[in-house]
């Protein structure tokens, strides 16, 4: 199939960048979008041009490194998938596909489609962990946990930290990401001990990184490749109130 790509090119963090148009005609519909970028890069390299920089690793929707704004939406038009899981059969012959990096003050562009997401790492470092002595693996059923608690925690744990929530939010808010981490660990007995500290430290770091506040548009939930619910955001709000007020 024939495809027109409009891709954000930016040589360095200082910018400025711009959309550059590329025409590709040897695309098949079972190629993934990232494979199309690979194909384009091969052609660019052959012509002595600078290939397009973009992030990817697992290419099966589990590592979270491939965040792209595809046709005006984080991870493209499909629900519950990451950018690497978008295949060309999603598009039609002669379609134009616009690809931009996720945009937020806290996610500066490094080059082309590559952004710096270390703000998320710093939020995790602030409290997204459980302090335990690592020894042998504990017995699987040593601590009984109610089924719905486990399910809720597991749903939150599915977060792959890709940043689509930030990218989708009109305020570039990281609430869904932080909420997923706080809800994942805070719901389980192992995380209970540091519950209050964790919430306060992670929220403080989130604000320090200059992510926006939550306007409850729920765009994050709609775009999350793991379909993490905004119920977790209510949980985070409740945690903060609990830590500060009650």
């Amino acid at each position: 199939m024939h495809i027109t790509l409009r891709i954000w090119r930016q040589t360095n963090p200082a910018g400025p960048g711009r959309l550059v148009t590329y025409e590709l005609s040897d695309v098949t519909e079972d190629m993934s979008l990232l494979e199309v970028l690979d194909l384009l890069n091969l052609q660019l390299a052959r012509n002595g041009e600078e290939p397009i920089a973009f992030d990817s690793d697992c290419r099966e929707g589990i590592c979270g490194s491939c965040g792209l704004q595809i046709n005006g939406r984080p991870h493209g038009p499909l629900k519950g998938v990451a950018s690497c899981q978008i295949h060309m059969r999603t598009f039609k012959e002669n379609d134009t596909i616009t690809i931009e990096p996720f945009r937020a003050k806290a996610f500066p562009v490094v080059k082309d489609l590559v952004i710096d997401r270390t703000a998320f790492d710093r939020i995790i470092q602030a409290g997204g962990f459980i302090s335990v002595n690592t020894g042998g693996a504990p017995d699987a059923n040593a601590i009984p946990i109610p089924k719905n608690t486990v399910d809720a925690a597991f749903e939150a744990a599915a977060c792959i930290s890709c940043g689509a929530c930030v990218a989708a939010c009109k305020n570039a808010s990281a609430m869904l990401f932080v909420a997923a981490k706080v809800a994942h660990l805070g719901r389980l007995p192992q995380g209970e001990v540091e519950r209050k500290e964790r919430c306060l430290s992670m929220v403080a770091q989130m604000d320090a990184e200059k992510f926006g506040a939550c306007s409850n548009t729920y765009a994050c939930e709609a775009e999350c490749p793991k379909e993490i619910s905004v119920d977790n955001i209510a949980f985070l709000n409740r945690e903060l109130l609990r830590a500060k007020v009650f």
């Binding site: 005006g72 009109k170 570039a172 409850n216």
Partner: protein
């Protein structure tokens, strides 16, 4: 050193202040629209006039009025503050963005609808509250002032459009406030139903007044 969080200073705390003041203002709307129902009594305003005079003379109502003003000011001030804070979070916008595919319109234009409600509030206070309370109604009774004002189709259109905007603001605002206050998911459906009172029934209740007086004047 670890950064510290205060309810006042954190992004979540700011939203909590907006939510609490917003819900307080919703409560006021209930009181306001209930009082206004007296206009429809068909007694040429006897009950309504007495109600306005009783409110004016009540020390309790006058004190609550001050709290109400504070509620409005805090809600407005914090709304603008959060909006400014949020705008800084994405200095360079997307070339292509399709937010309509992932979020509702009312949720994305809260700042605009809020600003328009302020505009309405200023006009509204000038027309009714200031006249009834301070500058005088030019010999008309309070009921007659309402009746005379709503004879103007221009004012009526403005009023009804403003109520639609208020409805939009509350469509998002009411349920959003509960989310910000950490509502548990099991309550969500109940809140959505209660929300209908605020984003649909109350604005219709207000908008019924100009319609009523327009029809009454014509007949």
């Amino acid at each position: 050193m670890r950064p510290t969080v205060t309810v006042y200073g954190s992004s979540i705390g700011q939203k909590i202040i907006s939510a609490i003041t917003g819900l307080f203002l919703c409560l006021f709307l209930v009181v306001h629209v209930s009082g206004n129902l007296l206009l429809f009594k068909g007694d040429e305003g006897k009950a309504f006039n007495e109600y306005v005079i009783a409110n004016t003379n009540s020390l309790l109502i006058r004190s609550i009025e001050i709290v109400l003003f504070a509620g409005f000011l805090i809600h407005i001030f914090w709304g603008i503050r959060v909006w400014l804070f949020n705008r800084r979070a994405r200095p360079l916008d997307y070339v292509e963005n399709r937010p309509s595919e992932n979020s509702s319109l009312p949720s994305r234009i809260m700042f605009i609808t809020g600003m328009l409600v302020i505009l309405f509030l200023v006009v509204h206070l000038r027309t009714f509250w200031i006249a009834m309370r301070f500058t005088g109604t030019g010999g008309l009774s309070d009921y007659e002032l309402v009746q005379a004002t709503f004879q103007s189709p221009l004012y009526d259109s403005f009023y009804i459009v403003c109520m639609a905007i208020l409805a939009y603001h509350l469509r998002q605002g009411f349920q959003s406030a509960f989310q910000t206050l950490g509502l548990r998911p099991i309550w969500r459906r109940a809140i959505d139903w209660v929300a209908v009172i605020f984003w649909l029934i109350i604005p219709i209740g207000f908008a019924a007044m100009p319609v009523y007086f327009l029809i009454k004047g014509a007949s």
